[in-house]
């Protein structure tokens, strides 16, 4: 049961090898007994999960099931789940039981999948190590004697899947928050094209960058998840009205003749020799499958992190102004007046990293600085996008590292936030450009997993999943599991 993929679980349910109730109880029991080590869940929804599993078993018995009916999974605690606590990793929302569900949540409900609970995350998705969660840090299941970070912000989703506490989990990515934890936990994670997955009910961090996507062990499961998650939504005005293909359809296609671009700016001094050899080895495998490689240039890559740290905080300061202690969320005790209520509710509810980003954003948007920071960053953003657009004239997909290193220790970045920000140096540009990006397991460094990143053209997720599936059919990195689970 432990290592079965969604695909295999689905077949098992259909053949009656086990019931959804047995399956869900198996995972709930694992969470109850093992997650004390990892802290990957904020909320475990025992009762709701058991009720939906029973419901799913009825559907299966009556022949009304689909491939998702009765499959257990988890949601990142950024997706609003009606009737189930949704914290976004913040004290600000430690009493927030949403009166509605996110579209992504509705989509999984409609398929009859069974939500086991809500996974831990960096507060409001701001972090690359899961250290900023109000609900405690998440431990990477690959840690041995020293506890290591799972990456962030979707570190709870990644740790839960890596520890086999759930077969898959939803996640979100604003600057690398699906791909970097996928890399550090040995998983397959995909950030779709901006606008592909509805953001309705997904608590906003930086609205022009945020995108939900799958966290899974295999490309096949990620494709099955994207089939559920993707689609136009009239409730999200930035969602794109374009047909959703069956993402599993092309998985088995040959990649013979595929042209892969290697950005010279990614294969530079930021890349360790260990990671370089992991990527070389992966490229050999892809070459064996018929792919060819070409050096390309993304000349404005260096400006991704600077542009991101204007745009993301600016949008965060605007989005997080809604937390005012009036309609929902934390309100301070005995406010003396309205200003005191705003200031104390927000100061008590938000943690240090969130405050820091709100301050940068408020500064960048304040009178006299808007043109120098925000407008400038948005112009640079277009230059970054244009680099990719020209690169895709010559190649089908781009390959590079996901994270600069394997999983690192807690507090190892010191107390300079800029060091942590550079963790996302290879992933941020795709968010700025709105392109799909994916991380898949490519090897081990010091017995810890690292991923390689594929960056696709707009709406080219099928091809990326195809490449990943073909790679996984000739490698076994994605089948490795941590020892201590």
């Amino acid at each position: 049961m432990l290592n079965k993929t969604v695909k295999q679980l689905s077949q098992g349910l259909a053949k009656g090898e086990f019931s959804s109730l047995e399956l869900c109880q198996y995972y709930l029991n694992r969470i109850d007994t093992i997650d004390t080590k990892f802290n990957s869940f904020i909320t475990v929804s025992h009762e709701q999960a058991i009720a939906s599993a029973k419901e799913a078993d009825k559907k299966i018995a009556s022949g009304n099931a689909n491939e998702w009916t009765g499959i257990p999974f988890a949601h990142k605690d950024i997706f609003c789940t009606e009737g189930v606590l949704t914290t976004c990793g913040s004290k600000m929302l430690n009493n927030f039981i949403p009166p509605y569900s996110a579209t992504v949540v509705e989509n999984f409900n409609a398929q009859g999948a069974v939500c086991l609970g809500k996974t831990n995350m960096d507060e409001f998705a701001m972090g690359s190590s899961n250290e900023t969660s109000y609900y405690g840090k998440v431990i990477n299941p690959w840690s041995e004697s020293n506890p290591l970070v799972p990456g962030g912000s979707s570190g709870g989703s990644a740790a839960a899947v890596a520890a086999r506490l759930t077969p898959i989990a939803t996640a979100t990515d604003t600057g690398g928050s699906i791909r970097q934890p996928a890399s550090l936990c040995g998983l397959t994670g995909l950030k779709p094209t901006y606008g592909r997955v509805s953001r309705y009910g997904m608590i906003a961090f930086a609205s022009s960058l945020d995108q939900g996507g799958p966290m899974a062990r295999t490309a096949e499961d990620a494709a099955m998840m994207l089939n559920v998650m993707a689609g136009h939504d009239t409730k999200d005005s930035t969602s794109i009205n374009q047909d959703v293909p069956d993402y599993t359809k092309d998985l088995n296609k040959s990649i013979d003749g595929l042209k892969i671009g290697l950005p010279k700016e990614f294969f530079n001094e930021h890349l360790s020799s260990e990671l370089q050899s992991v990527l070389q080895e992966a490229m050999k495998q892809l070459e064996g499958l018929g792919a060819t490689f070409k050096e390309i240039s993304l000349p404005h890559s260096d400006l991704s992190v600077p542009a991101y740290y204007v745009i993301a905080p600016a949008e965060c300061s605007a989005n997080l102004s809604r937390f005012d202690g009036v309609r929902y969320g934390h309100r301070c005790e005995n406010p003396s007046d309205l200003m005191d209520m705003y200031v104390r509710s927000r100061s008590e509810g938000f943690g240090d990293e969130v405050k820091r980003r709100i301050l940068i954003g408020a500064y960048a948007l304040s009178a006299g600085y808007y043109d120098a920071y925000y407008r400038k960053a948005q112009q640079v953003r277009r230059l970054i996008k244009n680099d990719f657009v020209s690169a895709f004239d010559d190649v089908d997909v781009i390959l590079g590292p996901t994270s600069p290193t394997e999983a690192f220790g807690f507090d190892s970045k010191g107390d300079d936030p800029v060091k942590m920000y550079l963790e996302d140096i290879f992933t941020i540009s795709t968010n700025l450009a709105g392109l799909p990006g994916m991380s898949l397991p490519a090897g081990l460094i010091n017995n810890l997993p690292v991923g390689m990143q594929l960056i696709g053209n707009y709406f080219d997720e099928s091809r990326m999943l195809n490449i990943a599936h073909q790679f996984q059919s000739v490698t076994d990195w994605h089948t490795l599991s941590p020892k201590n689970i």
């Binding site: 094209t193 309205l338 100061s347 240090d352």
Partner: protein, 95 residues
């Protein structure tokens, strides 16, 4: 660009945040570091480049002005910190 404690207090007020006095120094140092990272942007010539707000340059979608939501006031106010007679309660604003 250096951001001192006074600047921090000013932007904190704009953002309706209170920064503890023992954290001001550290936060002004952090933000100064972040802004020097960001200042890399200034080295690039962006004259004539249209700022990019949406990756697909999509524009706001419109719909017919029909009523699509039913009245959910009680449900939505059920999670508010303080309400009375269908109103959100806040500290007295007008004397």
């Amino acid at each position: 660009m250096s951001v001192g404690p006074d600047d921090i207090n000013k932007i904190a007020h704009l953002a309706r945040l209170q920064i503890d006095s023992d954290k001001i120094e550290k936060i002004s140092k952090d933000i100064t570091n972040i802004l020097s990272l960001v200042d890399e942007l200034q080295k690039t010539d962006t004259s004539g480049i249209e700022p990019m707000a949406h990756p697909m340059d999509a524009s706001q979608t419109l719909r017919r002005d029909d009523v699509t939501e039913s009245d959910n006031r009680d449900k939505l106010q059920g999670i508010a910190p303080s309400t009375e007679d269908g109103l959100f309660l806040v500290p007295k604003v007008i004397e």
